[in-house]
Amino acid sequence: MKGVPLDQDAITADTDTKIKARNVNVYYDDNHALVNVSLDIPDRSVTAFIGPSGCGKSTFLRCLNRMNDTIEGARVDGSLIMEGEEINDPHLDPVVLRARVGMVFQKPNPFPKSIFDNVAYGPRIHGLAQSAEELEAIVEQSLRKAGLWDEVADRLQDPGTSLSGGQQQRLVIARAIAVNPEVILMDEPCSALDPIATARIEELIDELRENYTIIIVTHSMQQAARVSQQTAFFHLGELVEYGPTENIFTNPQDQRTQDYVMGRFG
């Protein structure tokens, strides 16, 4: 199946561009997992990646903070420019990059530490706080931004794993916010949560949009429609269609996109 050629208008959004991807290819050993993906991600907005399982949306997401480096046999080609800097440059230190591009995973993965230490983890390893008071302030601020402060303020020393699933996911978001990243990647952040916790996270994403660029991979078309401003549809490793969320859902240009958002496959 050949990808529909994308013209410059389709891949460029009108707001300031945060990340500019050009001809990104990913191989896992011999498997060509992502084919020639080019798109621009706008600053301070929510971009959703949708598509059936195995379409490459998570693979692309993991390119943005070089998490594919941790997978043996993975190879990334092409150009990913963030703020004029090449992400895919082998000389770039992924540690510095990941401080700027945070990530939230599908399953909440709090570390086996207290709630406080979970949030303080990033500031500590990056040396962001000069004093204990400053660290406490960062932790409180992050928890407040993640909308978790009121629920955990009186038990910051409890283990992070003692929270409920939805609280754990917000804790992980607070942890990501604590290093003050520019971009937050979310890989199906609600797929392990119940509808109420999901609604809470979606609200949070909407609030965070003011300060951060958010890229979210989701299986739920309703979720993409609710939280995102731009949507990219991936299929079989190719970027099929990318544009304002409204257009993708109400007026898709490609037959495959239409079939997918109508629920005919996937």
């Binding site: 903070n65 998490m67 941790t70 043996e72 992924p94 540690v95 510095v96 990059l97 990941r98 401080a99 945070g102 990530m103 995973f105 399953k107 993965n109 570390f111 086996p112 530490k113 983890y121 990033g122 390893i125 990056h126 794993t161 992980v172 942890r175 990501a176 290093v179 990647l185």
Partner: protein, 566 residues
């Protein structure tokens, strides 16, 4: 070929026959529609085979285990019965014999006098100051020794006299219709427990054509009885076993049919068999623990538990026979506990860092090719017999340490030391720790590592702050298992650490451990009732309790860890 193997083989044949008969009958009763059978034809076959073989086989087993004891009982009761006329003759002769009566009287008088004397001696000894008369005490003691000697000679004379009477009775011509049988019975009856056992054993040996400790007419008579009894028991067994086999066969064959639930019967039996196996395993454990416990209690009735647990001197060399010269023995086990702790500590200082670091390297840094080679090589270490480690420690490591220390100016370092034993034991334990830790580190979910990397943590930060804390309970469990292994290790320490029970913290001296002492106490010339031997059981109990506690903690910790991540 013994009678038992012949029966067992013939039972196997019957069992196979039962299987085919049961199966054939089931097939016949099913007709064309095989599905009308409740159970598959094979189950019917097993059912008949089991009924044919199992009760008969168990009966045979019971006979094999119990027949000799039963035969001994039958023979001895017959012997006692046969000797009845001679028994009464002996009793009468004893009563009639004036000399025996006189000796008995004298014996009683001497016993009374001896008691009075020892009372007087006690009273004199308890007196203080001028009232105490050493000369009188001396005289009394001499007299007491004399009386004791008299008692011994009188007792011997008394026994000789009753032997004489017994011989007279046996030799008397008027002893009934079966003099040989009766005499044999009388010889058996007159003896005490040990003599009776010896008599029966000799009779059995003669009956079986095995060399006996002595030969005599009465033994030949008894041997004849043994032969008769054994033949009778064997015949009874043959009839019973084959009778049971045939009964079982016909009974079960009669039950086979379309709606008969053969599968349920067979499966119930299999479950019973599985249950029995687990019961045997559990009972064996309980038995071992109970024997440890009871023998230790016998030890603690002679040596106080406080002395054993807190005494600082260990020297179990005591006289094991009355005519031997020996010390009284000291049973303070603290030097052994200290030696065990010292060697275990050295072993852990070697094994924990190396094992843990190699586990971290293998699971977090090494490429998959290196891991695939290195892990099996490390695990080979676990397969080396400990005795090989022992002579490695004794012949290579010990002298090397001595040479190295001599070069540094230490002169009188011994080859057998806690250090060389601990060092080699540590090497032995490395694969335990590395292999178990590697498993728990690998069990830490990848999501945690990803989470940490995604925060911008480096690999070593991730390992130190996320992976190791998450794996910590499992690592602690691995270390505790390794410690209990080290505490129980014997061979290396026997060979490399020496046997001297020194209470020392100097790792270059020879020390000894609980396990080594158990080996020393239970090998060589010994008597199983002496305090020395019993102390081995007390040490074993301590060792058992120690390792049990550590294993329990280790299992608890590991379990807690599992609950968290599965």
């Amino acid at each position: 070929m013994s009678i038992y193997s012949i029966i067992a083989l013939s039972l196997l044949v019957l069992l196979a026959g039962g299987f085919y008969v049961g199966r054939a009958r089931a097939l016949r009763s099913a007709g064309v529609a095989l599905s009308s059978l409740h159970s598959l034809p094979n189950y019917h076959g097993y059912y008949v085979a089991l009924w044919t073989g199992l009760p008969a086989f168990l009966t045979m087993l019971a006979f094999a285990l119990l027949s000799q004891d039963a035969s001994d009982r039958i023979v001895s009761s017959r012997l006692v019965e046969l000797s009845a006329p001679l028994q009464s003759a002996y009793e009468t002769a004893m009563a009639r014999d004036q000399e025996h009566a006189d000796l008995s009287g004298l014996f009683a008088q001497l016993r009374a006098r001896s008691e009075r004397l020892s009372d007087d001696i006690q009273r004199l000894r308890s007196l203080r100051g001028s009232a105490r008369d050493p000369d009188a005490l001396q005289a009394l003691q001499e007299e007491h020794v004399e009386v004791l000697n008299l008692i011994t000679t009188t007792q011997a004379a008394l026994e000789d006299r009753s032997d004489l009477i017994a011989n007279d009775v046996r030799a008397a011509p008027e002893t009934g219709a079966l003099p040989e049988d009766a005499r044999a019975g009388f010889v058996f009856w007159i003896g005490d427990g040990d003599a009776r056992r010896l008599f029966l054993g000799d009779a059995r040996n003669i009956a079986q054509g095995v060399p006996a400790s002595r030969h005599a007419d009465e033994l030949n008579v008894a041997a004849q009885m043994v032969v008769e009894t054994d033949v009778w028991i064997r015949n009874a067994m043959i009839i019973l076993v084959y009778g049971l086999a045939l009964t079982g066969f016909f009974y079960s064959r009669g039950r086979v049919g379309q709606s008969f639930r053969a599968r349920n019967g067979v499966e119930a039996l299999i479950i019973a068999f599985l249950f029995l196996s687990s019961v045997i395993a559990i009972l064996t454990t309980i038995g071992i623990v109970a024997s440890l416990l009871f023998e230790s209690m016998r030890f603690f009735s002679q040596v106080s538990i406080w002395e054993f647990l807190f005494g600082l001197h260990w020297s179990p060399q005591i006289a094991i026979r009355a005519d031997q010269v020996g010390q009284t023995g000291a049973f303070g086990a603290v030097p052994l506990f200290a030696g065990t702790a010292l060697i275990t500590l050295i072993a852990m200082i070697v094994a924990i860092p190396i094992g843990l670091f190699s586990a971290i390297y293998l699971s977090e840094y090494a490429g998959s090719k290196f891991r695939q080679t290195a892990k099996p090589v490390l695990e080979i270490l676990a397969g080396i017999p400990t005795v090989v480690y022992g002579f490695f420690a004794l012949l290579t490591v010990g002298p090397a340490i001595r040479t190295a220390l001599a070069a540094l100016g230490f002169e009188d370092v011994v080859t057998q030391s806690a250090f060389s034993a601990g060092l080699v034991m540590g090497v032995m334990i490395i694969p335990f720790i590395s292999s178990l830790s590697d498993d728990v580190i690998n069990a830490v979910p990848q999501a945690l590592r990803d989470g940490s990397y995604a925060m911008g943590a480096t690999r070593s930060e991730t390992i130190r702050q996320v992976v190791l804390p998450a794996a910590l309970p499992g690592i602690v469990g691995a270390i505790l298992l390794a410690v209990s292994r080290a505490v129980g290790e014997t061979m290396i320490v026997v060979m490399a650490a020496g046997q001297g029970a020194n209470l020392t913290a100097n790792p270059l001296e020879a020390v000894t451990t609980i396990t080594v002492q158990i080996v020393m106490l239970l090998t060589g010339d010994q008597e199983f009732n002496s305090v020395k031997t019993l102390s081995a059981f007390a040490l074993g109990l301590v060792l058992f309790v120690l390792t049990l506690i550590m294993n329990m903690i280790a299992l608890r910790v590991v379990q807690k860890y599992r609950e968290k991540y599965d």
